[in-house]
């Protein structure tokens, strides 16, 4: 199977996240992911896109770009935001460590990045050329093997 790529653009508004979540759910069904694995992918994407809306492309019209790549081994999703005037470099390594350190189960916030770490096989956050953040989430397709 050659690497296939799907590109989506959405307004930077959480109103549209349900549609994106439904789309990735259908794609994962096509790829024969287990139900549990589909729920994991949907939740990870929800968290990544929510962060992109609230902390990245803070202007609705800036939009968020999703690149979804599939090959025989992996499903890879890259979510790209454009940053905002008050959120420049919000996700520096120091800031990331601070967020993770402060996270408490009894806290109301700060769980998104932790969930992304738990739910993905590989993830990375990088500053992009347009002043925002690229978040990459990789899911191994053979991780379904032992799941119902």
């Amino acid at each position: 199977m050659e690497k296939s790529r799907i590109e989506l653009k959405m307004p930077s508004d959480v109103y549209y996240l349900e549609s994106v979540r439904a789309f990735i759910g259908k794609l994962c069904e096509t790829l024969r992911f287990s139900k549990k694995r589909i729920a994991d992918v949907q939740l990870a994407l929800d968290e990544i896109c929510s962060n992109a809306v609230y902390h990245g492309s803070t202007c609705v019209s800036s939009g968020i770009q999703l690149q979804i790549s599939v090959n025989t081994r992996t499903l890879e999703i890259v979510v790209r935001d454009k940053g905002g005037s008050n959120t420049q470099d919000w996700i520096t390594p120091e800031r990331l460590a601070e967020i993770q350190e402060k996270r408490s189960p009894a806290g109301e916030g700060g769980h998104g990045l932790y969930l992304i770490e738990c739910l993905t096989d590989v993830h990375k956050l990088e500053a992009n050329a347009v002043g925002g953040t690229d978040v990459t989430a990789i899911f191994y397709r053979d991780a379904n093997a032992d799941e119902s």
């Binding site: 959480v14 109103y15 139900k35 939740l43 929800d46 968290e47 809306v53 916030g109 769980h111 932790y114």
Partner: protein, 114 residues
Amino acid sequence: MTGTELITTRENADVKIIDVKTDLSSYAASDLRKVLEDLLMEKVNKVVVNFSEVNHINSTAVGTLVGIAKRLRQNGGDLKLCNLASTLTRTFNLIGASSVVEIYESEKSAIAAF
């Protein structure tokens, strides 16, 4: 249906029961927060949220429920959850919120726990 029609309230004695009929990502979480904060304003302090029609919840919604539970406890009440699908329970467990908010298998057992 509008956001408020998808999150409705009813009563069982002194317990308010919230029926959520939508998946809870960031957008719907703000509707849920509004319903719960309205109950706090009305001095309601025993609340059960029924998740029987919910297939997805994200960390924003979990955080909302944790925050409201803590405020209800300060008022001598509590927030209890029931009828969660296994994927939702997994999300609460991953975050650790299941040690903060009580989860019950049925609405009856959640109400009885007050």
